[in-house]
């Protein structure tokens, strides 16, 4: 029964991995740029919600309505100031440049967060924070369950946006073949901008959910970038729902290995998954083959 409890907790955390990875996957798939500062964007989203809670008393789930559009704007600004120059480079040099820009941005945001919020762990504790849903022998923290549902709703919304919206289709077309996208009259720079802004918005939403069910500190960025990267590699590019499922999978795998081998090993399993997928199925579980 302890095992079942661990699996449930793994699923709850895995939903956030999926949400964190969706943003990274979108940016990587469309811009062919690996944003290693993605975790720092998650961290910023978390502090955004924390500030709204501490200064204005906003419920974190309500804060999402402000954090998401705020992150969208932040993403657009970051694209225009930084990443817009990276994508002008040829695809081979793009990854290298994006790593440099991304690491620089990650360091800057980390320093900024320490300055603004100190290096302490922060968490939003709402009145209903301790509520637990008991199903037989398993107890489910309500707030984490709500976070999982919100994460799933956001992924579903993104999926619909990419499937139905005119510019959503344009973003997918650009991801698949940017030259063909140009030939059909798509302004690919605009598709890049939209994809980066959407990816940042997802990071902001993920950060908010992390700050309420778990905790944030200025140094969580790298950890979340790595988790997101593992999930992206496992899922492959191209399917947001697949990315979410892969996130759940990694969450459960971590919980199981922690239960089997002890707590410290939960970090190892993700890296093992990373290696195994790269060797056996480099395009990922849900990725498209060329």
């Amino acid at each position: 029964m302890v095992l079942a409890q661990q699996i449930v907790l793994g699923l709850l955390l895995g939903g956030l991995y999926g949400l964190a990875a969706a943003g990274l996957s979108l940016v990587f798939g469309v811009l062919k740029v690996l944003n290693v500062a993605h975790g720092e964007l998650i961290m910023l989203g978390g502090y955004g919600a924390y500030w709204l809670f501490a200064l204005a008393g906003f419920d974190p789930f309500v804060s999402l309505l402000l954090v998401i559009p705020g992150s969208l704007l932040l993403g657009a600004a970051l694209y225009l100031i930084l990443f817009g120059f990276v994508v002008r480079a040829h695809e081979e040099t793009r990854i290298k440049n994006s790593l440099l820009v991304g690491f620089g941005l990650a360091l800057a945001l980390h320093a900024l967060a320490v300055r603004l919020w100190t290096a302490d762990d922060r968490s939003i504790s709402t009145g209903y924070g301790g509520a637990v849903l008991t199903v037989g022998p398993i107890s489910i923290p309500v707030i984490r369950l709500a976070s999982l549902l919100v994460a799933f709703a956001l992924i579903g919304g993104l999926h619909l946006l990419l499937a139905r919206w005119r510019w959503g289709k344009a973003i997918r077309a650009t991801a698949e073949d940017w030259q063909a996208a140009l030939l059909t009259g798509i302004d690919i720079r605009r598709a890049y901008l939209l994809a980066f802004a959407l990816g940042t918005a997802l990071a902001g939403a993920a950060g908010t959910l992390v700050s309420v069910g778990y905790s944030i500190s200025p140094s969580i960025g790298l950890e979340w970038t790595l988790k997101a990267l593992i999930v992206v590699v496992l899922a492959g590019l191209g399917s947001m729902l697949g990315t979410f499922v892969a996130g759940l999978f990694v969450g459960v795998a971590e919980a199981l290995s922690a239960a089997a081998f002890g707590g410290p090993y939960r970090e190892v399993v993700g890296l093992v998954i990373f290696l195994v997928v790269l060797v056996i199925r480099p395009q990922g579980l849900f990725g498209r083959t060329r």
Partner: protein
């Protein structure tokens, strides 16, 4: 309507086009022939804005130089390209691919009529519009590629080797469709390695070798030209 003058392009130090001059008039079918590596695709790439030439001018409608137009706005001017290898969005449906063809605002206004036109031209696609493009045969994919370009309501349609790797029966269907499209007033610029078919279809043709135009003339006249016959219509190509 399209005039190319003194076009020079190179990949690094390797010249691809040296002083290419040609034109396509309104309502014409013009073929561009030549061996592999002659620069045919580079020429199309320059016109579409995907390849930056070193020198020369590409004039559209007797006025604007297309080299100064952003690539994604070229299709808006009424010039659509069917690229070599089709370059469709393989994970999307036929309907989505066609819809993206009408992405530019001007084409968007005429989307419904254009879609009807494409389905009339290629009835196969109507039944398959919900299918993923990757699941279609090469010939059907080529129909989608031509359809996607037509969705932009072009006045000039440029095609790069539309018959490459396609079953002969479907090649016929696609070439017939081109004649049909041309009858509706759309000029056609056809890059082809199927020389006999292209020359039968075309009003005029240019021959590109080593990045230079080495011959031009009416389609029928070139079919009788000894150099063309020897180089492109030898006994091995007789079946084409």
């Amino acid at each position: 309507m399209l005039e190319i003058r003194g076009l020079e392009a190179a990949y690094g130090d390797v010249p691809a086009l040296s002083g290419v001059t040609l034109r396509v008039g309104a309502g014409e079918i013009v073929a561009l022939l030549g061996p592999n590596g002659a620069g045919k695709s580079t020429l199309l790439g320059c016109v579409a804005g995907l390849v930056r030439p070193r020198a020369g001018a590409i004039t559209w409608d007797g006025g604007e130089n297309l080299l100064t137009v952003a690539p994604h706005l070229i299709v808006e001017r009424g010039l659509a390209v069917v690229p070599e290898g089709r370059r469709l969005f393989g994970s999307m449906t036929v309907a989505d691919n066609l819809d993206l063809g009408a992405f530019s605002p001007r084409a968007r206004a005429a989307r419904r009529e254009s879609l009807e036109r494409v389905f009339t031209l290629f009835p196969d696609l109507r039944a398959r519009r919900r299918q993923t493009v990757r699941a279609l045969s090469g010939g059907q994919q080529q129909m989608v590629a031509v359809g996607r370009a037509l969705m932009a309501s072009p006045r000039l349609l440029m095609l790069d080797e539309p018959s490459l790797g396609i079953a002969p029966l479907l090649v016929r269907a696609i070439l017939d469709a081109l004649v049909e499209i041309n009858r509706a007033g759309v000029a056609i610029f056809l890059v082809e390695q199927n020389v006999r078919a292209a020359l039968t279809l075309a009003h005029r043709a240019y021959i590109l070798e080593g990045g230079r135009v080495v011959g031009e003339g009416a389609g029928a006249a070139l079919l009788r030209d000894p150099h063309v016959r020897r180089a492109y219509l030898g006994p091995l190509a007789a079946g084409a």
